[in-house]
């Protein structure tokens, strides 16, 4: 029994697949691929399949991860090949390897955020002394957080009609910042709803190396 970590991308039409639906979709894909999955024991047997960090509906991801437990060995490149033969449009397996990091080692995620407004407006927002925004807590209440420190590492580039921001935000651990919060704050400042495309580039450990 071995845990395999699959790196995959979720783009295009697949970005509208919710996390719950992704779990179901992947589990069926793995069955179609004829990958020898390990099933839990007991009355309601199900395969072992987990994801490091759910991706919000509407976001794309280039290097998402999914862990599988296999009943017998299968060469990693064969696994990737088989999966790609059966995955629907927008989902692609990139690589497979033995899981190195423990789930708890996930610390942050790097994003590329395309905002449909001027780079100036984005820079101006980032230069404000604070960037307060309402955030939902686990207990279904809201609290105000200041985004300013989290976005201190952001870089902004102008590309035609849009501003492209690259930023690393805490993810997975006790602290979790969704890039959508910045869009909410910015829309509030500009007084209009800003359209946005979010792409999660990769998942990171605390030391800045990739979560693999």
């Amino acid at each position: 029994m071995k845990n395999v970590r699959i790196v995959f991308s979720k783009t295009g039409r697949a970005k509208y697949v919710s996390h719950l639906d992704l779990v179901r979709t992947m589990s069926r894909a793995v069955r179609r691929a004829g990958i020898p999955l390990w099933y839990t024991e007991g009355f309601n047997r199900h395969p072992y399949l987990t994801f490091a960090a759910p991706l919000s509906l509407g976001y794309e991801g280039l290097r998402e991860t999914m862990d599988l437990r296999l009943e017998e060995d299968m060469p990693y490149d064969r696994l990737v090949e088989r999966l790609n033969e059966v995955l629907p449009e927008g989902l692609t397996a990139v690589s497979a390897a033995e899981a190195v990091c423990k789930a708890g080692q996930l610390f942050a995620a790097e994003y590329r955020i395309t905002l449909y407004c001027s780079a100036e407006a984005v820079r101006a927002a980032l230069a404000l002394p604070e960037l307060p925004v309402e955030k939902k807590t686990k207990k279904k209440t809201t609290k105000t957080v200041d985004l300013k420190p989290y976005f201190a590492n952001a870089t902004v580039k102008e590309t035609g009609e849009t501003a492209v921001m690259t930023v690393t935000l805490p993810s997975g651990g006790a602290d979790n910042i969704n890039p959508g919060l910045f869009v909410t704050a910015l829309s509030g400042i500009l007084g209009s709803e800003i359209r946005v495309d979010v792409l999660r580039l990769r998942l990171l450990q605390a030391d800045g190396t990739e979560f693999l």
Binding site: R13, S27, R32, L57, V86, P88
Partner: protein, 613 residues
């Protein structure tokens, strides 16, 4: 338009219903195909995607290299509002092209209450509702499915109806269309040519006239077409097309699993049941075919569950052999088999255990009526003793919940029959408490659910009046007051939707105006309670000068011309009249395996009609 559409997806609930691109969905190059077909299911994605008939035809059409069939479902309210605000017309999920540019728009008619959904979808597509207003520039609107056996309330809107099973006739029409397109397509000439294909009903080629009293005077064929249109059946299910894969949705749907059809038709002939008559005769698939098709489907979809589909699973002649074969690989591959419409009795103990029959089927019975007399009248062959025997055994095995289904308002029903429903529930409760082996320290729950009887075309009850709303309400109240235990929970279906269903099921062409007026008022998907507005319906009937009780609550004489008399489903009127008389004498009719009752379906010389008894 496509960018505008993308922007809507994140503003609506469950966008995966509108994006397309699911596994096994088919995309083709629009320039390389001759015919584009929009297969529309007039209900939400999660309902339509569960439907086996649509899956079969979708695959089959796309199996033709020059045909591209796409799926279309009714958008939910939030999406529809955004589409209208942003002027996005109804589109095919695969290409996201507007379906008004397609060659065919096809609807499946599964229940009468979806008729308003059809008109709303045409409107959302930007296609004129009335067939007469559509020219060569517009798509042809076609429809099939069980409600096509009386499609008269839709005749103003639909160009072509397919009667019976679609696998062959649909493609014949598509092929004829290709021919006509090559030599210069003229809608009128095409429709006339279609009418010569068996199973094709072109309503504009029949004229209906009415008598003073509102009943039909005559149905007259025009332009030399056959006076009667006969439904189509597939003769050999083993050689008939069956998909090797299904589209696997991302989002959760009602039946999210693979489905294998095991036979068509039903041997039983319960007199209220339209499916029991219009799908005759019973034709089975062989064990080999079902085994192969089920395994292929599971492999190609990755589904962890598949179900055997039919009207009455227990009537498959080789059920044990089949399940043995299926379990051989299903157990190994961690695939579950589900068995809907299964009678829980009559299994060998070994197989019952291996299958865990009860866990799959639940302790569910549909006696439909409360007394043996009424069950005989409706030809429902299920006795009280059978039910009590089975529940007693199940209680020993630790079961504590039973579900019972009944109908109110059946022909010949009296208050005694209503009391019988409560009585049967009480006997099940008693069977639990008098059982020495009952589960310790637990109580029993008996859930009884009642619907209202709706008389349907092509059944022996097609002449019967439906109980009025007052009568039904009275019966519901009488039932409530006849129940004297808290162990029984009772739920009943809204009588008002059943009334509307009864009007549409046996309606004629004068209802087209009502549906059109309803469309203007925004009627849509009446099977969803948040859409159904009874008072608005009554207002529309009044506005159109149509009396709905004429269709629902009137006893029709045997010699009246019925709106569907020019359609032939094999079962003869003489047989139905005889069955109707037997019902009033509370006399049962044997099922097709016990004896042939000469219903008329033997004209095809197939299936159970030619089996050795």
């Amino acid at each position: 338009m496509k960018q505008k559409l993308e922007n809507l997806f994140l503003q609506v609930q469950k966008p995966a219903r509108y994006t397309g691109g699911e596994l096994n969905s088919v995309t083709k190059d629009p320039d390389q195909v001759a015919v584009r077909f929009a297969f529309c299911f007039p209900d939400l994605y999660e309902v339509g995607m569960s439907h086996l008939g649509m899956k079969i035809l979708y695959s089959q059409f796309n199996n033709e290299p020059d045909v591209w069939c796409e799926r279309v479902f009714a958008p939910d309210t939030d999406m529809e509002q955004l589409m209208r605000e942003n002027e996005i017309p109804l589109y095919g999920l695969e290409s996201r092209d507007p379906i008004r540019t397609f060659d065919f728009i096809g609807f499946t008619l599964q229940y009468e209450l979806s008729f308003t959904g059809i008109l709303n979808m045409l409107d959302l597509a930007g296609v004129p509702l009335r067939a007469a207003d559509r020219t060569e520039q517009h798509p042809l609107v076609v429809a099939g499915g069980p409600c096509a056996c009386n499609p008269e309330p839709l005749t103003d809107f639909v160009d072509i109806f397919f009667l019976g099973e679609g696998e062959e006739v649909d493609l014949e029409v598509i092929n004829l269309y290709k021919e006509h397109k090559q030599k210069g397509y003229n809608k009128k000439a095409f429709l006339r040519a279609c009418a010569d294909i068996e199973g094709v009903y072109v309503p504009s080629l029949y004229d209906v006239s009415y008598k003073e009293d509102g009943t039909i005077a005559a149905i007259t064929p025009l332009d030399g077409v056959e006076p009667v249109v006969r439904k189509r059946i597939i003769k050999d299910l083993d050689t008939c097309y069956y998909p090797e894969s299904f589209v696997v949705p991302y989002t959760d749907i009602v039946f999210d699993r693979a489905q294998s059809e095991i036979f068509r038709g039903c041997i039983r002939g319960c007199r209220f049941c339209q499916a029991g008559f219009i799908y005759r005769p019973v034709r089975e698939k062989s064990v080999d075919t079902i085994d192969r098709q089920s395994h292929d489907l599971c492999r190609n979809t990755g589904y962890e569950e598949f179900s055997l589909s039919s009207l009455s699973t227990s009537d498959y002649t080789k059920l044990e052999e089949l399940l043995d074969r299926l379990l051989d690989w299903a157990e190994q591959e961690h695939t579950n088999i589900s068995l809907p419409s299964l009678r829980v009795d009559g299994f060998s103990e070994e197989l019952a255990n291996r299958l865990n029959v009860l866990r799959r089927a639940g302790l569910t019975f549909a006696p439909e009526a409360g007394t043996q007399r009424l069950r005989d009248a409706i030809n429902k062959n299920l006795t009280e003793d059978e039910i009590l025997d089975t529940v007693t055994k199940a209680f020993k095995g630790g079961w504590t919940a039973v579900k019972l289904y009944f109908m109110l308002g059946l022909p010949t029903e009296t208050m005694e029959d209503i009391e019988g429903i409560a009585g049967l529930g009480q006997k099940v409760v008693n069977a639990f408490y008098t059982n020495p082996d009952k589960p310790k320290g637990k109580g029993v729950t008996v859930s009884m659910s009642t619907s209202c009887f709706v008389p349907k075309p092509f059944t022996p009850f097609q002449w019967e009046p439906q109980d009025t709303l007052e009568q039904l309400r009275e019966k519901q109240q009488h039932l409530v007051s006849s129940i004297h235990t808290k162990k029984i929970s009772l739920s009943y279906h809204d009588a008002k939707t059943s009334f509307l269903e009864a009007v549409l099921a046996r309606g004629d062409r004068r209802l087209c105006a009502v549906l059109e007026a309803g469309n203007k008022r925004g009627f849509n998907l009446d099977s969803w309670s948040e859409h159904f507005d009874f008072d608005a319906w009554m207002a529309v009937f009044e506005e159109c000068g149509v009396d709905p009780t004429f269709y629902a609550n009137r006893r029709r004489p045997y010699d009246e011309i019925l709106p569907w008399d020019h359609l032939d489903y094999g079962v003869t009127k003489a047989f139905l009249i005889n069955e109707s008389k037997l019902a009033h004498e509370a006399t049962t009719t044997p099922n097709c395996r016990q004896a042939c009752s000469g219903c008329g379906a033997a004209c095809w010389k197939e299936g159970v009609c030619v089996e050795k008894r």
